[in-house]
Every structure is written in C-alpha cells, then in structure tokens.
Symmetry: C2
Subunit: 256 residues, 2 copies
C-alpha cells in the first residue's frame, strides 16, 4: 500500500483528505481508483489504513478503515546536530538519516563552518529539508517525519544539549573515548522489558574543517562527551550516517 503523510487538519476521526502533490501522485502516478487502500500517517505517530471514496480535482477523500499501531519507529530518539556542510551534503544527511531512523535534525553554525545563509536562503533551505525528510520518511515506511530545525548558533546548540539524556560530540583525539565504549551501558537502568520513558541521544558533527579546541572545551563544559568513530577519517556527511547507525545498532534498532 502506498503511504502518505497527511497534515493533522486533514486527518479527521473517520476520513482523511489527500491534497496537493500527494493527491496528484495518488491520482496520476499511482492511478488510484475508488476503493483502493492507502496508509496514512499524521507524521507524529498516528497511522491508519483508509479506502478511497471520492476523487476530485486536486483532492482525494478516503475513509478510515482501521487505525494501526506505528511499528517502524525506533524506541530511542536520535537528534543529529550537523554543522552546515558545503554544497548539497545536508540534503544527503537528511535523506539518509531519515531512512535510518533519526528523530530530529539540528543544523548549526560553528567557528569553521564555511556556509552562511541569509534569512531568505535559510527559509528556502529549511523548506527544502522538510520536503526531503517527508519523502524519505514515506519511502522508509516511517510513521513520523523527523523534525528539521532552522540553523542554530553554537550557544543555542550547547544550551539544548542539556535536554538530551546523553550527548556526544565527534572529535578525533589521541586516546579519546571510543564511541562503542561510550554507548555500552549507557541506559542500563532501563531494565529489559520494562517500560521506561523514551530516551533521546544527541550527536554533534563538525564541519569539514573540524571543531576548534575552544569549541570542544565548551562542549565538554556543557556536558557533551567527545567520542571517536575509529581510525578512518570520515567525511562530515558520512559521520552523521555512521554515528546514527552505531547508536541504533547498539540499542537493537538496526535488526536486533
């Protein structure tokens, strides 16, 4: 069944309305007919199977047949803070990390970030990133669209680090803390099978030129742990995908 994210105001108790690009896709690409079934999600975890009852110009109405329990979301929220990379690498980070299972993206500007946006360009970029996150979430059969923040400055990023249950900053240093060692035993108080509140983990990834020593010092003071992803030097956009995969793998969310 084809999946669509439906804005909350179109996701009613017994019907959903598919509009805009999604209505076009359903009508002209999928060539849906009255009676066909689709899966709808409100992007925040509410999900239902619905049957097409009405097709009009630019709008499809479907009646909800069954509410379903979203089952494809990780039990852990990973927030990816990525220093704005050059070119369209942020697009790749958002697409791939949405597929893998990220919960939130926080682009930010640090000392050696080369990319700068003016207000207009920033707005356009954030809009574009939202669209990429939505499409990747649909493709990956997720029931939540990850949140994409507008770029933070460094101080604001450090401030929100305290909201996470665990916060890491990727930094290569001699004899630094290895990521796996940092992850093992992190949430041991969450007894197997026991219901615990959803945890969130923040991972902060530097720009192409890396972090300054001052930034690492400030991050440590803000409670972030500097960790290494091993001996090979990863490009900034690769580090995001790899760091996220390691966290979800460790907590049994990548097939475990």
């Amino acid at each position: 069944m084809q999946r669509y994210f439906i804005p909350k105001e179109h996701f009613l108790d017994t019907t959903v309305r598919v509009t805009g690009d999604d209505a076009h896709h359903l009508t002209h690409v999928m060539r849906a007919r009255i009676g066909d079934r689709i899966i709808c999600s409100d992007g925040s975890g509410r999900e239902a199977i619905a049957q097409v009852t009405e097709m009009d110009k630019g709008m499809v109405v479907a009646s909800i047949i069954e509410h379903v329990e979203p089952a494809n979301e990780p039990r852990i929220d990973v927030w990816i803070a990525q220093s704005l990379p050059k070119g369209d690498k942020m697009d790749a980070v958002i697409q791939k990390c949405t597929e893998i299972g990220a919960a939130r993206f926080i682009p930010f500007v640090s000392e050696r970030t080369v990319v700068r946006y003016d207000a207009k360009k920033e707005e356009k970029r954030v809009e574009r990133w939202h669209k990429i996150a939505k499409e990747a979430a649909e493709q990956a059969h997720r029931s939540r669209i990850p949140v994409v923040e507008a770029p933070f400055d460094w101080e604001r990023l450090l401030h929100i680090a305290s909201w996470a249950d665990a916060a890491f900053i990727l930094y290569e240093k001699e004899n630094g803390l290895m990521f796996r060692d940092a992850l093992r035993g992190l949430f041991d108080d969450a007894a197997p099978g026991g219901r615990t509140a959803k945890r969130n983990v923040l991972i902060v990834i530097g720009p192409e030129g890396g972090f300054s020593e001052r930034e690492i010092k400030e991050a440590e003071e803000a409670g972030l742990k500097p960790v290494s992803l091993g001996k090979r030097i990863l490009r900034t956009e690769t580090a995001a995908m790899v760091g996220l995969t390691c966290i979800l793998y460790e907590f049994g969310e990548m097939g475990g």
Copy 2:
C-alpha cells in the same frame, strides 16, 4: 601530512616516485617544496614517510625516511556485493563504504537489476570506481585501496560466497533473522588477543526492486544467510553503508 597511493613499481626500497595527477596535486595544489614530507602507501598495506628531494615536470621524487605500520585498517575484511543501482548511486556506495572501511566491492547483476552496461561502458565505469575508491581511501587515511571488481553475474556471485567466512544477503521477511543476532557470536572462536587469520564477511545487497524469491532460495542453498536490517526500508545505497557500519561496529572497528 598529505597522503598518496604510489603504484608498486614506483615504491622502491629507499625512494618513491610520485607521478601523474598526484605529482600535479603535490606540486600545484599543495605547493610542496624540497624537504616537505608526505605519507606514501602502496595501496596494499605498505606505508612510509618520505621527504621530497627532487621536483621535475610531472614527477616528484621523495626519499623514504621511515617505514610505518599501517594502523587504520579494520581487522576484518568486508566484501560488499551490490546489485548495480540506477544513476550514479554506485559512486556514492564506493565512496562512503571506502571511508567506512570496506575491503572489496563486487557489483553484480540480478533478476531485477535495471542497469546494464555494454563492454565499453563497463570498462569506463570500473575505471571510474577505482578512482573513487583510491581518492576516498586517501581522504580517510587508509593504507589499502579496496578492490573493485568488474560486475559479476548472479551465478559467479553465489560461487564466491563460499570463499567468505560468513555471508549474508539483505532480505526483509516476516520473522527473518535479525542482523545483530546473526553477527553476535559469529567468530567466538577468535579468542580475545589471540592471533587468528583475518576474517572476511560478505554482504549482498539487492537492486531497487529487491530480490526474487527464487534468488533468495538459491542464495540460501549457496550458504548465504538472509538477514534484516530492521523495520525501516532503506534505499539500496543506504543499505550498503548501514550494513557495513553494523558489521564493523559489532567487531569493535567503529570506535570500540
């Protein structure tokens, strides 16, 4: 120090010769001078620090100061068999997976592979993939360039599966084997600290349209284990990066 891969015939006992694009890069991009130091690798694990002694048109000669022990290579060889994806996605797979630490790439053609190359195009592609692997290995500070094979057919792929110490095929099925469960305890006979032969693990990733049931049956008969990477549906090129990261993470090679 800048790193270069030097063909074996130019990597002598006491000197190295940097030629072609690398000589141009060293001379014109890095603006090297006599006395500058570089790290050279023969791409198969031999590595040395060398000092520039001579700069000529299109060639730089450097004398070896110190042989160094390559330290950035995983202790486990991961072979990535990727059904030829559409567009330039294979480029991304080779670039990212080289950074992460793959040892060998085996592109292959399966039932639902859409992409087909004629002999001339295949030759050009393989040449391009080699170049991407070399550059990514340099960037990641690896001392080995992963091997990139010319595309295999399905039978040949199944045949070489028996050469691997463990072989997996990514396939989503109800109640299938989870990847983490499959990896845990895989090489328990390799006692900690004990010297054992280098292990190799093959992971096979299908095309956009997935594998046919017949192919999965044949793969299982050839000794490949079907495994799942979890509940979210990954694009074919994302699956390669994620699968590789999980293997290297499990065996302590992603910062552990």
